[in-house]
Amino acid sequence: MSIYVFSAALTFLTSLLLGFFVFIKNPKSLINRTWFLLSGSIAFWSFFLAFMFASKNAESGLFYSKMLQIGAIIIPASCLHFIVSLLHVNRQERFAVVASYLFCLLLLVMNVTPYFIKEALYTDMVDCFYPRASYLYIFFILFFFLAPGYGTYLLIKEYKSESNFRKNQLGYCIGASFIGFLGGSTTFPLWYDIHFSPIGVNLVWLYVVIITIAIVRYQLLDIEVIVKKTLVFAGLFGFVFGVIVFVAILTQEFIAMFLPHSKFLSLAISAVIIVLLHQPIYNLLINLTNKHLFQKKYDARKVFHDFSNEALTILNLDRLCRITIETLVKNLYLKNCVIFLLSRDETFYEVYDSFGVNKQEVVLKRDSRLISYFKLAQAPVLYNSYTRDLQACDEIKKEMQAMQSQLCVPLTIHNDIVGVLSLGPKKSDQPYMFDDIDILSTLAKALSIAISNARLFAQAAQYEKLATIGTLASGINHEVCNPLNNMSMRMQIFMANLERGAYKDKTQDEILAEVKDVLSSSITQIHKVAGITGKLSSFAKPTKTVLSKKVNVSQSVDAALDVLGHKLMIDRIKAVKNIPSGLVDILADEDQMHQIFFNLIRNAAQAIKEEGEITISAREDSGKVKIEVADTGCGIPEDKIEKIFEPFYTTKADGSGYGLSIVREVVWRNKGEIKVESKIGKGSTFYLEFPKA
């Protein structure tokens, strides 16, 4: 068995496996399919080449030659096709591909005639029956160089204008093509009786290996996993085969020393040894390949899992976007990442949150091509794609440049593009893989839902605020109008009295005394009004930040009772305060504490409806201040008690169900705790706990 047979067999094995796995990985992608075709034709060719190099007579030599020629004819055309599908094609190049396949057909027809391959003669140099060329064979040789030559020219042309990463990929392709075709062409001389050894055949499998390295290190064709499997499989196969042979030979020799006719026994013993060694060898191979060939890549499932757990339950839009961006930047090593969201009034897309870019510099217009594309396609776009599916057209590429984006994923809710998730280049300059895009698409869908939730939540919060204002308004109105009326009446009466001469007989001192009385009463009334309006403002302020300071619990409760007092009076609800005067202050945001008590007392009043009692008590206990708000209302059923803090949960027909969820959030924001106990028909008690100041 000559070395040529072995080379050809190796070429067959590697190209077949590689082509097969590439195809399985992504049968829909054009690149994967053309590579499969190319690999397949190389495999076909090398298969019969092996047999040809082992041929023992002229007939078999000729037969195998014709067979291998079929593969050889297809190789240049499929190679050109593969290269063209790697690059960004235009009509001219596509035409070239079609033309080359047509020429293939022609050559295949020629192959059948005796004017292509003349005969197979025994050739000493290669120790087999090697074919000889006839008149028409020259066409094949031209084709063999022209088609891939044109492809290489295209590669080189593209090479100049690409990123470093892509340059590496293409460089390996160009280098490999050179070696492969140069190697293949060394078979030609012998066809014309020129005594040149076809040593190049030994290099063809090297072409396959170089492309493999490009795949592994520079992620050409996006098939790391495939290569891992191929290498491990091939390596294992070869290794185990070698071990079997080795052990079999050893045991045979050993046993032969003692028992001369024991082939069967020695084989059996070898088999046992192999079975035992098989698993550890397999593991060793896998570990070695992992350690030396593959960089640590992020575990996509873990990213999505972590993201789902942490981010998707966040109802605060700012935090949701922040965590999304942080997760993506960290795990994909991004240079930048931006989340664009449709503005409230739906007129433009604003940069809601970003990393790695200046907010003013990135722009996404409402009427951009990108958005129109998303409306139609509902799929991501890549600035530089290796398949035509996700490639952005030139106009969209310009828009993506303005966004400093490499990959744009739409965020859709009910067919509306509510935003765009834009990812910049990775720090390693590596391109986005099919896996990445898969994960990001799923993540974007989940993110869209989370955004929708957060927005609804914010909207409900708005409604709740308005409802609160409604409640406050009537109370305030009354509280403000009465003091104003008191003041106004006294002044009007004084002026009226003055006018009708009621003070004619009074002394100046007496008049002055009356004036002073009116004025001081008015001042009192003015301060009353100021107090009420001041309390109102604490309910209108947004609750985003926490300004912690010493807050007196009793005063805070009073503030809430002041604004609610009117409503309580109407509903004939008694409010009882059980707060010791010397109670230590708590550390919290004053306005937010007002809101908490306001909400709890109002809730209590609503539970009571009419005629009842609300008791607010507080005490110090082990470094914390414990507060209880108890009511004699209708109570909460046991199976619903878990739910009352959930947003949107309400038993009120006109309620938004919102107040208690906000209360709990505000309590937590102020480092407090809240829980509730209740009995139907008896009432409920809310237990709060805050750290003391």
């Binding site: 009537s474 109105n477 009354h478 403000v480 109008c481 009465n482 104003l484 009326n485 008191n486 003041m487 106004s488 009446m489 006294r490 009007q492 009466i493 009226a496 009295n497 009621a502 009463s521 009334q525 009117h566 009076m569 109407i570 004939r572």
Partner: protein
């Protein structure tokens, strides 16, 4: 004929007292109370010509202007009810009108509105 009898009911003492004093100085017969219960008692006893009543009152039984308005017809049908209140919502106005209130005066009140009102009632009485 005698002086016009006026009953003023409002739990804001500052207001109630000052307007009562003023009207008394103008020779009206003014009765002044802070609770709904007492208002009903006076209504039954004195049968005033006009009642100026606030909507929100405080008292032991928690009677408010609405309650007084309702009981008015059975206790003292001659009394013309006028409500004074800070509530500006339309539904209250409709409700009170349907219960028989002649007019609703919104706080803060103009003194001349009270003057006008009293003169109007006087004129109507004289006509009879």
């Amino acid at each position: 004929m005698g002086a016009l009898k006026v009953l003023i009911v409002d739990d804001e003492r500052e207001f109630s007292d000052s307007i009562s004093g003023y009207l008394r100085a103008l020779n009206y017969a003014v009765f002044n109370t802070y609770t709904g219960e007492q208002a009903l008692e006076i209504l039954g006893r004195e049968r005033p010509n006009i009642l100026l009543c606030d909507l929100k009152l405080s008292g032991i039984g928690k009677m408010d202007g609405d309650d007084v308005l309702e009981r008015l017809k059975s206790i003292s049908p001659v009394t013309i009810p006028v409500i004074i209140t800070a509530y500006r919502d339309e539904s209250s106005q409709k409700r009170l009108a349907s219960k028989g209130a002649l007019r609703i005066l919104f706080k803060p009140i103009k003194l001349e509105d009270i003057d006008k009102l009293l003169r109007e009632v006087e004129e109507n009485l004289d006509k009879r």
